[in-house]
Amino acid sequence: MTPAPALLVAALLVLVLGTAVVVATARDVLVATVVFGAYSLGLAILWVVFRAPDVGLTEAAVGAGVTTSLFLVAIAKTAPPTGDVAFSLRWSPRALLVGSGVVLVLGASLPALPAVGDPGAPAFGEGAAAAFYLADTARFGIDNVVTAVLVVYRGFDTFGEIAVVFAAGVAVLLVLPGREVS
């Protein structure tokens, strides 16, 4: 497994961080939404670079595509901001405290993670689930192990997830009955 090209990863991280800052500070939510789509696109490419194309495809379709369009139809029902200021940053001390706390805790756990693609990582070790999945999947004739794990080994979870998606549709119908537009 060749390591991800550092320059490409650095450029994508700059794109993701830059768009994140724009999303956080833009006053017009329309601007924030469109830039948020670019943020998701950067993340999707980053997933592909890190050899997680299944996640990348989901991020591109959900993050850049569907979420953006859902935000857009929601924004269409709001009023645009008044005034000339395009970007502003209002600090809330409590939000800053919670946000930096979460970042600190997550950052502190980073050194404990194995390097990307490390063959000695616990997930690939002797007796680990990954080795079993890789060896056992061939029995079913399924080439994509991600699909095999989702449907064959963790099928019960996936069934629950789809039930949740369906329940979300029911919830949308209950919460937003709306009126027929004549």
Binding site: T58, A148, L173, R179
Partner: protein
């Protein structure tokens, strides 16, 4: 409010969408069905199909697209996908295996039966995801502000 009138004045948008959407939906269905062989699966494929529907709605108007894709039909498809998944999961019980046991299908005398079972599950997932996402979009678009 977008979608309350068709954007017939922009030929570029409508013609581009007219040309692109069949490919988007085809790619979504391919992703749904090809999840056992390559990157993809029902969830990703379903979302891509829904993105195609949303693109249509942005180009031709939400009301017009919703008239073609009745919300009642979408709700039926969403329930059908979930039921298809449940049917595959329980058929393995009837065949003497466990709930959702792909190994039961692998023991059938049909070549690649487990793959077909998994692909049926993916179709079920894709139907539910695509219809719920389109449904949520249409419902949100027509909701009162």
């Amino acid at each position: 409010m977008p979608g309350e009138r068709p954007y017939t004045d922009s030929v570029v948008v409508t013609q581009t969408v007219r040309a692109v959407v069949p490919f988007v939906v085809t790619y979504g269905v391919f992703t749904m069905l090809h999840g056992t062989k390559s990157v993809g699966g029902g969830f990703q494929g379903g979302v891509v199909v829904a993105a195609g529907v949303v693109t249509l709605a942005f180009a031709f108007g939400v009301t017009q697209t919703r008239a073609a894709l009745n919300p009642g039909t979408l709700a039926t498809v969403a329930a059908g996908g979930l039921l298809l998944f449940a049917a595959v999961a329980t058929t393995s019980l009837a065949l003497g295996g466990g709930f959702l046991d792909a190994g039961t299908y692998a023991r059938l005398p049909v070549s690649g039966a487990a793959v077909y079972a998994v692909e049926l599950v993916e179709i079920g997932i894709g139907l539910t995801v695509a219809s719920v996402v389109s449904f949520a979009f249409f419902t949100l678009a027509r909701a009162e502000p």
